[in-house]
């Protein structure tokens, strides 16, 4: 059995107590964090090692972005893709020793406000990032799990209002199509949606700007766990921790976890 979790933590230093709480209470074997917002030497490596997560692959940068995979199982960092080719720390790949699984931890760019690559360079960069991921996906030759903040909610049931979000970055048809191309390039299985099936409501993020997140529930599913076909068949459970959105000083994202019969 191997359990893998993913969580956009929005500053791992500020929210170290929440990460510790999560690891203590949920105890996944592997936790993939995005938006750690720190450099590698600032990552709370000892605090997480003290909880048993002594195997770590951290790709940080100053102030923005940054991803980290921490694990109770031995792990070897195998890649740091820069799919935007701009030096931002948005990916780290790790091999889980003795488990025939590669864990790709990714933080797709948010893409700015205007869904038009002509007027908003960030939107173009987001699409470029996905297109380069798609090219990369064709070369995968080992059972792979890719998780993280994809910053796209592909299904109607992935957002609180399909109609109101059609022109909002994260749910535009162009982004959804571009993500679908990535999906097809390797035949990924969307594990989350295998277990919480469309059209059931499934959100992983609620904006800080929208007050009373539980009552108004204006969420989106921006975080994902996708597996290679063979690996996906080993996924035996998947759950999300909505209550984490109500913790003291929360991240705007919640953790997702999948258990594999490995």
């Amino acid at each position: 059995m191997v359990s893998v979790a993913t969580w956009n933590i929005n500053s791992v230093r500020l929210r170290l107590p929440l990460v510790e709480k999560y690891l203590r209470e949920e105890a996944p074997d592997i936790l993939c964090l995005q938006e750690i917002k720190c450099q590698e030497h600032q990552f709370p490596a000892e605090a997480l090692a003290a909880l048993g997560y002594e195997h770590q692959a951290v790709h940080g940068q100053k102030g923005y972005h940054g991803v980290a995979t921490v694990s109770r199982l031995p792990l070897r960092e195998v890649s740091r893709h820069d799919w935007q080719d701009n030096g931002e720390a948005r990916h780290v790949g790790a091999e889980i020793i003795g488990k025939d699984m590669i864990v790709e931890n990714v933080y797709v760019p948010a893409g700015g406000d205007v869904p038009d690559r002509e007027v908003n360079a960030k939107f173009g960069q987001k699409l470029d990032f996905l297109e380069r991921m798609t090219r990369w996906a064709g070369s995968i030759d080992r059972p792979t799990l890719i998780v993280g903040d994809f910053n796209i909610a592909p299904l109607e049931s992935d957002v609180w209002s399909h109609k109101q979000l059609l022109k909002v970055v994260s749910h535009t048809p162009l982004e959804v199509d571009t993500l679908q191309e990535f999906k097809d390039a390797h035949g990924w299985t969307d594990i989350g949606r295998e277990h919480i099936r469309d059209p059931e409501r499934y959100f992983s993020w609620w904006s800080y700007r929208s007050p009373d997140w539980r009552k108004n529930d204006r969420g989106r599913r921006l975080d994902h766990m996708w597996a290679s076909p063979d690996l996906a068949r080993q996924a035996i459970s998947h759950r999300i921790l909505e209550e984490a959105r109500s913790w003291e000083k929360p991240s705007d994202h919640i953790p997702l976890v999948t258990e594999f019969a490995l």
Copy 2:
């Protein structure tokens, strides 16, 4: 009996819990705050009124400086001097209704790093401020108490090292002389030094930068309470609360309080 306190609070919003603690435990009739660092609409008026300090004269500005006098006794704001003539909120004057006392609450500019008006405009502004106060002092015709952060430590026993601070802004002979001219212009009595007499050590401020403030004790007396001659004769006690420098997330200044037989 009327007790008046003064405290440079270094952000009243951030340190509201400390102000509340002080008011609950020491219960002066009047508290003069400096460096409230907020606009008037942001001042925690209700919280202080709830403790009985419902009479308030607040002169705030965005982000910097700002003074406030809060009182359990009825009070009427009577002046807001701009002795720098640059719009900064560094003074508020209030009449204590039925007590024949004007309370002038002042925050003298710090004066920058270099004690030379030619190379450091802020030092010149500080001296200008004091000179304009001196001219104003000649016109005082009612029993007056002037308190606040004067940003000058005039006596040798007002600093941890007279020799090492002779060229440090706050203790230069030029500042001390300029302050003395202000003192002479009205015949102010330095109430603090009436009760904790030179050459006894008397500090009201310890820099955040100097670690272990209690052990190294590199303090200065920057905060003062000066009274008109007749009023000074009514001062029956004066004390300082050094322990406030050790409170959680403290101001770098401590509160001073004087009790008057009025």
